[in-house]
Symmetry: D2
Subunit: 347 residues, 4 copies
């Protein structure tokens, strides 16, 4: 940590600040330049110390040299985290495909879509039973009974399942039904929810807040890891910019950056990242080329009549199937393993 | 609602779409231009209908002419909402000043600061007992016992109190201790929390998400209003932009815009809005000139030793006092009432 | 300047980097922490050096402690720049009001509007003869003959004039006709234009680029100052954010920040900053409260028939007049001088 | 074009607005809804008309259904533009690689780098002779003599050349030396420069402004096309967002979007788009997967001593060479042609 003092700091004030810092169990190292004096702090400082110093009179800036997250960092764990869920491996050179509708609508729908996901080569079935919606008058999801519909379809077709959890009190019941818990973009900094997820060991897919920095995403992951749950995947799903043609701006550079800074798997969501069906296939391939450890893609058999507005970004089944065939060819050139199992779907 | 169809739509597909719309109990009105055909929808449409239509094949865009929120809108209630809490009026031409530390630290601290807020002319004491923090290793607040410290200081000095609630399960206990519940920027779209707040009648100060649009803020307020709690204040606290010199970019235009679109009071938070003490006084005055119904300002007697990093944006007591004197002079020129009561503080 | 090296730098590489730096005529000062080694650079470094070091292997970051601009900084010149144009003072505690149409349309229009600006208390007449337009098929301005129309109206009514210059080759002819040259938001980093403006001494109003940082704006001003022209005003005119309700997001915090960092006058443009007439008066007052040294406001006698689309943000004459009366009352409370001259307009 | 009128418009005002519109040679079509009346405009309207109507009293919004650019649109020209420069084809299913240093430094440097670009399979040599720099004290480029150095290196090694032009007066001399003129991000809306480029027929690579929308980029291209120069390539080079870890946020979705909206080739610039060498290779591959018609990549033999700060984003020669080998394998899977010519470099 480096403390930059103001232009006109007096010797007395400098001593006062240094004194305050040294009472915190770290050493200092003073360097006087032409314009300013800089205080270097040697030793592991409490994160609160940086915040306190920053606000002291005659302190212009405090620069943290070490990162504020630890367990999530590649420095802490050099090897990729690989999460193994019932034999499906997520992370490293494995490529996982999650597909399904925005919202669970009925048992028949889930059964039909699960069959398509499985046949196409996907490993995980997605679907929302509780939907976060901007306004109170929009469809809010079918609730707990949707969890059972999805779990049943997953079991029948041999797929893992992923669904969103929005509030701490629902974590336990949803974890009983789903293999992966998804945290939505608006909840990336719902700290009580993150703390609750740290107490279980069900894998979590943590979506980046639509205006969150990489650092904030990794700090959010740190909440879960620090609580004791090591099974965290990060998800890039588009950020908010000035461009309105697309629903969000999918930041694919997040993928290699997060993989450098962290050992956690990074999944891309080109459906929410673009908000337009005609862009999803191209941006799925670009995500794989950017090194994504997986994709989460919306697909619907009848988007015209989907119950949320997100049908507009859902692929048709044939598009989904053909996309996975393309990815199967691309994957080996990009150092990833993805094989569509040719055997018939188990029934 | 207006539906814009694609360039090359066939007569058959147009009939199909019109047919689908009319089964929803509204009428249509077709207008053929040189390039495109536009379908006007007459009558009150279900909000889900717009979302469904948008995703239909051969639909390019759906433009909603009426707003997605209703109870929060100025159209629905032309007169300003005035919230009366124990005789303190918030809204209309009243100006309310909320002051205090970022975090509750001790009973003595709250007592000392409350005396200053009261003497300076403030009406509400602020202070966080539960703190939302980016990383898990930062100070997270003193918790429930802080609520009692603040409530006691408020009672003693004749001030209302405001504190943040972060999760639905704490709403009831916090509402027992505080006069106003604050929803932080990261929780503006924590829909379960909003729904819970709709079930009580304690006034709520709803902070704008740091990347939320005006429309999203008003929709978040709508969740609370639709639940049955009419006592909602909106709060502008700065948005995230590319500029990093300030912690956020305080969007003062939000104040007159929200007051045009809605009848709810709008409070400005220049402390978080700038993140720098030396800007808070100027931006407080600018907030009043922009028409704010109140200010929420951080003030600390010893910012060097505050327990969160937010001391850097806290005014010193004499700055807070002198700011309120300046505002007392400005207010009448801006159509607002704000009088510092000269009588001694009650003890 | 401080150089932060990578975690795993070798002693040899460290010596190499230090050696390279010291050949540039500055001294170094090495500080070894638990995690990293930091190199402090003592002495005035060439700005290119920072850029070179940043790209060296095993360098993680370079932190500049001193600013990249010099002549524009408050450190270099502690007192406010006050620009005196024919007796009108801009800067310090003077408040200057610039008003007029978006585009010069005819001599009659300019005469009529100049009379209103003068009677209301304004000191400067604005109007564009060359218009920067997003698309090539929009109205591009009346050109050189518009300059004469505006100059004539200014002379007749005793007003200074300001108009935009878009390209270096037009600087001389426009400087012959106008008292102040305006650089539009899209040209803030048109470096050839800035260099050309440094060669003359006509005052320049430099608008902030719609996505420019404070630092970039001050560096753009530095181009003009370094060329030899000290008469520069900065202008906040709104930045681009995710919010689309307003045309731009007027960043009023820019005003006190720029005044702290620099001695140059700061003018606010609430017309482009909001893009909506109904917000201009409120945001004008807020600009004055934020400490603006002046305002540039669009006003039109017949906005329905203005030749650009900017009529939507133009005040009607009676709104302009009443705004200046309000500002006359507010100014003394905010430490600014603004007096509407009561004597009849000279004809 | 659709005009949405305000809630409370009178019949008289409606007639007035309709009357004004119809004097402009288009027809109207009125549609009365429950809440509002909407005026549809049938026929090709002048673009200025939309702007005028938008600012009329009782008009809430004007929605343009047709695009403001024409020649750049896919509607106008359904087939891809393919620009043929001395036999190198840009556009369609061809993949073009442009490589070289940020700035031209010497004849020897350009010769050495050109040999590497050619041997690796690149077709175009890049290098800046005039550099746009944020501050006036940074290296501004070697100027006209750099043009000759680059042209000579291109001729010798059989490469096309591309260099930046910053101001209209230099267009002719630069066009004599270079095969492609590059317009930098800060000049995307330098309209005088765009107009000048419309008067020549040298191909132009137009970089997206760092905060420009897709629509604005296409309108900027329209200036050049409307002037008579059909040889325009668009370039995505990263936009400015709140994230500061990368220099810019590379918006790869721009590639398929621009290719849908327009027939012009789209080139990706992962060097400026990320600003970090370690991300360039991955984001180059992702650009190709997103459908880019080409890449422009910085490469330097001695980045530690490059004369601008951009060495930090320059690939080393062996990285550049190996990247092109990877792309050669990926291209056919993505429907693109890119073959590294095996024959020895001509000398």
């Amino acid at each position: 940590m480096i403390v930059i003092t103001s232009n006109a700091i007096s010797e007395d004030r400098l001593s006062e600040i240094v004194g305050h810092i040294e009472t915190q169990g770290v050493k200092t190292h003073i360097s006087k330049g032409t314009d300013r004096t800089v205080i270097g702090i040697v030793g592991k400082a409490d994160p609160i110390l940086a915040e306190q110093i920053r606000q002291m009179k005659d302190v212009e800036d405090v620069i943290k040299i070490t990162k504020s997250y630890k367990l999530a960092s590649r420095d802490f764990q050099p090897n990729d985290t690989i999460i193994d869920i019932k034999g499906v491996k997520i992370g490293g050179d494995n490529l996982v495909i999650m597909g399904g509708p925005c919202a669970v609508e009925s048992a028949e729908q889930m059964d039909e879509i699960a069959a398509i996901v499985k046949a196409a080569g996907g490993q995980v079935l997605r679907g929302g039973a509780f939907k976060p919606r901007t306004g109170p008058y929009s469809f809010q999801g079918v609730g707990v009974e949707g969890l059972e519909m999805m779990a049943e379809a997953g079991r029948k077709h041999g797929l893992l399942t992923i669904t969103e959890v929005m509030t701490p009190e629902y974590v336990d019941v949803i974890a009983e039904h789903a293999d992966i818990l998804q945290i939505g973009t608006r909840n990336m900094q719902n700290f009580d929810l993150l703390r609750k997820l740290g107490e279980i060991d069900t894998p979590v897919l943590l979506k980046r807040g639509f205006s969150a920095t990489y650092d904030e995403l990794l700090n959010a992951a740190e909440y879960i890891l620090a609580g004791g749950n090591p099974n965290v995947m990060l998800c890039e799903r588009g950020i908010r910019t000035f461009e309105t043609y697309t629903r969000n701006t999918l930041d694919l550079t997040a993928i290699p950056v997060l993989q450098q800074l962290s050992h956690l798997p990074v999944i891309s969501d080109p459906s929410h990242g673009t908000g337009r069906r005609e862009l999803v296939e191209t941006m799925s391939k670009a995500s794989v080329a950017a090194g994504a450890n997986g994709l989460i893609v919306e697909m619907h058999t009848d988007p015209d009549n989907s119950m949320t507005g997100d049908g507009v970004q859902s692929l048709f089944p044939d598009q989904f199937t053909s996309l996975l065939q393309d990815i199967e060819k691309l994957a080996p050139l990009l150092g990833k393993k993805f094989d569509i199992i040719k055997e018939p779907v188990l029934k």
